[in-house]
Symmetry: C2
Subunit: 258 residues, 2 copies
């Protein structure tokens, strides 16, 4: 993958409404084919900045790898745009239930919507002041989006600290990359806040729930199913969070004293 690790932006020439050429920055989008124990699992289209974390996080969120300790080795091949993950698992991916590898964006869900897992998230407090602080800090980090647009961001926050900030062409890629970084850095979820620029659809809520993170904050909107799931598992859901505005759809936010 020629652009892995490099700045994932190209300058291209577009024509404006008057037919005049202008230079526009656009985000990279490259294939990354993930192999697990010599079986081809998936080809992801990605910005390419965190291939290792994306591959691990994808396998984690698809429940193809149970624990971080199961992973024996990870090898990135930049020439043929592949990443090979070797595990100590007994079950090989091709022996798993057919159709198990399914994915988000309303395009095949990876969990059973009728059987919510027995997740009960730990309580974690969040205040209006902390939301404002996080939004302010996060705005300064979305470098690719500012330059080229067409990417979504996710962040993993612990109180006012941004532990990880990831931009990618797909909102699910960004979530999966955070999941991978959590394993790579041995971060647990119970005291974290998950931020995304993407909409809070059911699969994003479920992925964040499986990471054990009790607070989910989004710049965008929300679906009804997400609220239903959050109510069941005790997740604080904050959407439309931008500047000095936000809406709390489940849980509570400590207001500033008047």
């Amino acid at each position: 993958m020629k652009n892995i690790g490099s700045i994932p932006i190209h300058a291209v020439t577009a024509l404006d409404k008057s037919g005049q050429p202008c230079t526009v920055l656009v985000a990279n989008e490259n294939p990354l084919t993930v192999f697990m124990d010599n079986h081809k699992i998936v080809t992801l289209m990605t910005l390419g900045t965190y291939p290792e974390a994306l591959a691990i996080g994808y396998l984690r969120n698809q429940k193809l790898v149970e624990t971080w300790q199961t992973i024996k080795s990870i090898h990135i091949n930049t020439e043929n745009e592949t990443i090979e993950v070797h595990t100590a698992q007994a079950v090989e991916p091709n022996k798993m239930a057919p159709g198990m590898i399914k994915t988000g964006c309303g395009q095949g869900i990876s969990f059973n919507i009728h059987q919510l897992p027995n997740i009960e998230l730990p309580p974690l407090e969040i205040s209006q002041t902390l939301i404002y602080t996080l939004l302010e800090t996060l705005t300064q980090q979305n470098e690719i989006h500012r330059q080229a647009g067409s990417v979504h961001s996710c962040a993993l926050c612990q109180a006012e600290n941004i532990l990880a900030f990831v931009e990618d062409v797909g909102r699910h890629n960004a979530v999966d990359t955070i999941a991978g970084l959590m394993w790579l850095n041995n971060w647990t979820g119970e005291d974290k806040i998950f931020y995304t620029t993407g909409r809070l659809t059911s699969e994003i809520v479920m992925k964040v729930a499986h990471l054990g993170i009790p607070i989910l904050l989004s710049r965008s909107g929300i679906t009804y199913k997400s609220i239903e799931i959050a109510q069941k598992i005790g997740m604080t859901l904050i959407a439309h969070a931008k500047g000095q505005r936000f809406l709390v759809f489940n849980g509570e936010v400590k207001s500033m004293p008047k």
Copy 2:
């Protein structure tokens, strides 16, 4: 599916930044499990307004059904949120290549990015005036988005006429639904313009190319890979199209006389 066919919006109570309750409209998101010839193919999370077209379009875009004539019957079961498609195909889904059913949003692509199909799109002219007319008309149609947000829209246009307008919680669902409507209505692609509010990532470009549609117009941004693909197959790519602005990344748009 309780909400199929009904208005896919719920009124919920959220708390604003001061902790005051307010009523907010949010979009539905319900599972739709697609069966083909008694095999479970996928569970899609959808707004639920076009279940038939979504299921057919999904099977079409995943190349699980080759032609519209192959489909013998479609049965929607609203109780258990399933749709059953029966075909006259010899190949059963479980006999297909493993891992074949993959999906978008940068989360597993359904085509081989290294082997672009031998598509050469027919030429189709578009003018600045037509773009403005379409954008103006399309703005009046996004009813769910205006009320509840959190949905993407796609439209199929023929000159200044909007043949179909679809909103859904996932941008891929909306594209797939248009693909289904094209089969249901016997519409071909060569004289059509495809509009989406979503970003022009490689998989959207490929899906529209496979529908035989030569012009792709987006309200949002674009990736580098999309431009590369469009250049190869001769697709006119127009992004950032909003109000009186747009940028042409491949092909050309006839400007208004000065």
